[in-house]
Every structure is written in C-alpha cells, then in structure tokens.
C-alpha cells in the first residue's frame, strides 16, 4: 500500500481503495480458477454452512424412530442407515451440524478478537508490554489444551454451544496472538508505522486503518483454522464422554457409536460411526482446499515458479 493511499480525505482515496479491492478479488478469482479443486473447497464449506443454518429446519424437532429398523443397513430411505434407536443417520448428521459449527464460530470470534488485540498491543508497543504478553502467550501455548479442558470439565459443565465456544476461545488465542505480533513487527520493520507517524496519524488510525487491513487476510485464514480447531476439540470432548449429552451432535454420535452402540462389533452398524467421521473429513477437506488457495494469495513465495 502506498503512502498516498492512506492520506485522510484525499480525493482519490475511495476509488483507490475500491480498485485495490477489485484487484484483490480478481486475484482470488485467478487463484481459484487455477486449480478447480479449490472451487470444490468453497462449495464444501458452503454446504456445511447451509447445513448449520437450515439443517434443523428440514427435520421435525424430534427425529422419528423406527423400531423395526435398528442399525439398518444403508438404503434409499436411509442413505447412511439408522442408529441403535432406528433414527436416520443422515438426519442426525445434518441436524447435529448446527451445534458444532455454532461453537466453532463463537470460539473463532473470541480467539481472533483476543489474539489480534493482544498481538497488536505486544507488537505495537514492544518493550515491557510485549514481554509480559508474550510470556502469557507462551504459557497458554505450553499448557496442553485438551487435558486442561478435561480437567476443567469437572468444575464447569459447558452447557450449550455458546458456553462451550467461550471456554475454547479463552484457551485458544495464543497462536493468533503470536502470529499477529510477528506480522506487526515485520510491518514495523518495513517502516510502515514510522511513515504513518511521520504523517501525523494517530495510533488508533494506524492500527485500525493501516495495520489491520493489511493483516486482515492473514487473520481471516487463522479464523478459518480456529473454527475447525474448535469443532474438533468439542466433538472430541463429547466423544470422550466428559460432557453432558444435552443435544444431538457429531461428538455424541461418535461416542454412542463406539462405546454405546457397538458399531465396531458388527460391520452393519459401521455407517453410524462412519457418517459423522465422513462429515468431519469432508469439512476438513473443504477447509484445507480453501486455506491452500489463501496461502497462495497471501504468500507469494509458495507460488509456482
């Protein structure tokens, strides 16, 4: 970004920004088109987003059970068979998506907000602030997250996706804080901040209008990763059975399939186990493909030569 683009009130500023944005989207389009698999990634993630939004509306509040078809094999009526109560597995996966994805979003918002603010503070002020914040970050990164979650689950009954997301978010901001700090420092080294200071811009302006926009894509990428991380952690906790089963979600399905339903003792019951696994695999694939594309947009060094 050039210095002229950041002068406040400049006549050409708006159009300049707009054209920058247009160039950016053109770049995105080009990167996506270069490998069709990346469009697939976008499609997959869109599918899951749709599942979380409208999934539960497609089915009745209480999914129908069919006592005559316990652990039914996959069929046209039940593409992934049925569970131990005769409930359609596909319906369980679709309706279970909202809980996990909502948690993921809450976690990501908290992680990104906390991580960005702390990382910016540390990188911008350096000195004592930096030392203290980075020590806390180190601590947060060293204490193993999953064991801590398990231990916490004995005193805190993470009820509902929001509370769950809050806890995961409070435990997961370290990585982003560190990354944002190093980005800030590298922008600083390039004379970015000094130049803006020299123009008499305020700190809030420099952070809000200059640093954040240039880091936005990077933060967005981390947010995407944080969403998946939170989804996995939470499904994992349900799978281990340390959380109360207050609703249907993928983790509960996994737990019941492995430890309750005996999906592993008979091949016929396998779809019940495989369906949520497949959902997680598919979501991962989608995210991986998108991150791969983002990587190429923001990290030109990895671009093909």
């Amino acid at each position: 970004m050039t210095v002229t683009a950041i002068l406040p009130g400049g006549g050409g500023q708006g159009s300049r920004r707009a054209s920058l944005r247009r160039n950016f989207w053109r770049g995105v389009g080009r990167v996506l088109r270069r490998k069709p698999s990346r469009i697939l990634g976008v499609a997959i993630v869109a599918l899951f987003a749709a599942m979380a939004l409208v999934g539960p509306m497609l089915y009745p509040a209480h999914l129908p059970r069919d006592d005559n078809a316990l652990y039914a094999a996959p069929s046209l009526a039940h593409p992934f068979g049925t569970d131990f109560e005769g409930t359609d597995v596909l319906a369980l996966v679709v309706t279970g998506a909202r809980y996990v994805i909502l948690t993921g979003l809450v976690t990501a918002v908290i992680t990104v907000a906390l991580g960005t603010v702390l990382g910016l503070l540390a990188g911008f002020h350096r000195g004592r602030w930096d030392t203290v914040l980075m020590r806390i970050t180190d601590l947060q990164l060293t204490i193993p997250g999953l064991p801590l979650l398990l231990v916490l689950s004995t005193v805190w009954k993470f009820q509902g996706p929001l509370e769950m997301g809050l806890v995961l978010g409070l435990l997961g901001w370290g990585g982003i804080a560190r990354a944002v700090r190093s980005q800030t420092l590298s922008l600083r080294e390039r004379g970015f901040i000094e130049a803006a200071r020299g123009l008499g811009l305020s700190t809030t302006h420099i952070i809000g209008r200059e640093l954040l926009p240039s880091m936005a894509p990077y933060i967005a990428m981390n947010m995407l990763i944080a969403v998946t991380g939170a989804i996995y952690a939470q499904v994992g906790l349900f799978f281990l059975g340390v959380l109360p089963f207050d609703s249907n979600n993928w983790g509960v399905m996994l737990n019941l399939a492995v430890f309750g339903g005996g999906a592993l003792t008979s091949a016929a019951a396998l779809p019940y186990l495989l369906a949520p696994l497949l959902a997680i695999l598919l979501l991962t694939l989608g995210i991986v493909l998108i991150v791969d594309a983002m990587d190429e947009i923001f990290n030109p060094r990895l671009r093909e030569e």
């Binding site: 698999s37 916490l152 997680i280 695999l281």
Partner: protein, 345 residues
C-alpha cells in the same frame, strides 16, 4: 529474544544461558499448572475433600486421624485457611507426593503414573519417529517439486491428515483393521494369556497390540512434517547460498544435502510442540484402543472423580511437554552453529 540475551553477556556459554532461561521458565510454568490443579480441586462442586473428611469422621475416626487420612489422599488438609491448604499442597508436591488414588484405593498416584507412562511414551516416540522420517523425506520432495502433480498430491494429503483430528484417524484405523478387515486386536496393551517377560509370545502380542496405536500416532503427525518440511524447503530454496552453491557447480547430492540440512533445522522446534500435541492426542488414541497410558488414566480419573489422580496426570503431562520443549531447544542449539557459538547472523 534469547539471542539478544546472548549478545548481552558474551562470556557465558550461550547454551548454558539458554538452558538456564528455559529451566526458570519451566519452573514458573509448573508452578502455574499446579496452582491451576489446586484451584480446580479446591473448587469442585460439593467439595470432595471436605466430604471425605466428614465421611471418615462419621465412620468413627478421630478428627486428627481423619485429617491425616484425607491429606494423604488429596495432598492437602481438608480444613484450614485457603493459604494453609495451598502451602500444604505445594509442600507435598515438593516431596513428589501427589496423594493417593481414590479409584484404586491404597495406591500412590505416583505409582499409577509411573506404570502408565511407559504405555504412552513408547508408542508416542515410535509413532513420531516413524512419521518424522517419512514426512521429512516426502516433504523435501514436495518442497522441491512444488509444481508437480505428485508434489500437489503430497501437500494436499499432508494437509488433510494434518487437519483431521487424531480421533477421526484412530476411529477409521480401528474400523478398518478390527471390523472390516479384522487382522489386529482392537484393545488393551497385550493378550492376558501370555506371561509378562522376555518370551516370544508375550513380545509378539505386545507388538500386535501396539501396531494400531503407533500407526495412528504416525498418521496423525505425518502430515504436519510434510507440510513443515515443504515450507521450510521452499524458504531455504530462496536463500542466496543455494543459488551460490548452484553457481559454483556443486553436485546435486551436495546441493540436496545443503537444502535438507538447512530446512530440517527449524523442524526441531516444531518437534517439541508436536510432542506436546501428541500427548493431547494420546488421550483420544488410548481411549479408542483402550491402551493403558497417561491419556486413558486421565479420562478414567475424571470418570471416577479421582481428583488426586487427575491433578497428578495433568501435572505429569505438562511437565513432559516442558521438558520436551527444553530438550528440543537444546538439540537445536547443538545442531545450529550460529546458536552454539553465540552468533546472531
């Protein structure tokens, strides 16, 4: 950050200085973790410590005896001020007294941890070693042939394996090798009919049972190595000295070694983090394969509300990660001459 410290005091051996810094930070970390454990145990709904104390008194024990018995279980006194309880807990820890297990009455937590640790450490190390060798080798290839089809395939499969949580890999491995194609045992560390010791039957059974957990560890960490090595190689390839070596006409073999050795260096710091993550993953993998390591111990202690055992396991896991961090950093210092001699270049 450490390098600056090194520059400030050139007389002290930089490796020793690094180590000292790490030990101090590690101790602070351990203190924080133990405090967390204390706070959690102290705040568990229903106060099990006080509950235990009252139960013992109801059973006819004298208050003094009940005090001591409870303290032996939890590591701190059931009555008294918060500060007294806290210092008591810390003092016991200094003597490596983690209290007694509730779920296996009469057994010291330390004993349980000791016997569980070997079931975690060996598979984790085995799996890590396997995936490290495989991942780094393929990662070099993926880094050099970034534009090729195979390079693409390696990166995407690496990202996928890296992105998927360990329990998904574990469950798939379990479903494939024990249900769909049942060739390996599903759970436990060893078949009970063999006498423990150095005999063929026991060892074979041991290996059979360890195969799936080790495979899962390896698959779960393999992707990370491929990706890390790939991006490290990409960075090194952009370095001036590689072009310089090429222009001096160095042979492909030498060039390859220059690239690989420089690229692998930063991976040793990731090694520490990945060991930490694997300990986290051990919880899932041991639960899935019913493998009696630290992870399963933690899950079971939570299920049984065995708080002393829970705190102990958590502490040991954290300490293991801190030690792994220090070890990896020292290893780095030994391999990289720039750190070894205190240079900052």
């Amino acid at each position: 950050m450490t390098l600056i410290a090194v520059r400030g005091a050139p007389r002290v051996n930089p490796v020793v200085r690094r180590l000292a810094g790490h030990v101090v930070r590690g101790l602070v970390m351990i203190w924080v973790v133990t405090t967390i454990s204390f706070v959690i145990i102290r705040n568990i709904p229903g106060n099990p410590v006080l509950g235990q104390y009252e139960t013992l008194i109801e059973k006819g024990m004298s208050p003094d005896e009940a005090q001591r018995a409870t303290a032996a279980l939890y590591g701190f006194l059931p009555t008294g001020s918060l500060w007294e309880q806290y210092t008591g807990y810390m003092k016991a820890l200094l003597h490596l007294d983690l209290g007694q297990s509730l779920s296996t009455p009469g057994t010291e937590v330390v004993t349980l941890l000791g016997s569980a640790a070997k079931w975690t450490v060996l598979p984790v190390l085995g799996g890590t070693l396997l995936s490290f060798v495989l991942g780094v080798t393929l990662g070099v290839y993926a880094g050099i042939k970034r534009s090729g089809k195979l390079g693409d395939l390696l990166s995407i499969s690496g990202s996928l394996l890296h992105g998927v949580p360990q329990y998904v890999i574990g469950l798939l491995v379990l479903a494939i090798f024990t249900t769909l194609w049942p060739i390996l045992p599903a759970g436990g560390p060893v078949d009970v009919e063999f006498v423990p010791g150095f005999n063929a039957g026991y060892l074979a059974s041991l290996i059979q049972h360890a195969t799936l957990p080790v495979l899962t560890y390896a698959l779960a960490s393999y992707g990370g190595w491929v990706l890390a090595m790939k991006s490290s190689v990409a960075t090194v390839l952009g370095d001036d000295f590689i072009l310089a070596a090429e222009l001096r006409g160095l042979s492909r073999g030498v060039l390859f070694r220059y690239i690989a050795r420089n690229a692998i260096l930063p991976l040793f710091t990731i090694l520490a983090l990945s060991l930490g993550m694997l300990f986290g993953g051990a919880i899932f993998i041991e639960r899935i394969f019913n493998y009696p390591g630290l992870g399963l111990l933690l899950v079971n202690s939570i299920g049984a509300r065995d708080y002393a055992l829970m705190g102990g396991t958590f502490l040991v896991t954290t300490v293991a990660i801190i030690i792994a961090n220090i070890a990896a950093d020292l290893l780095y210092a030994v391999i990289d001459p720039r750190v070894r001699t205190g240079g900052t270049a």
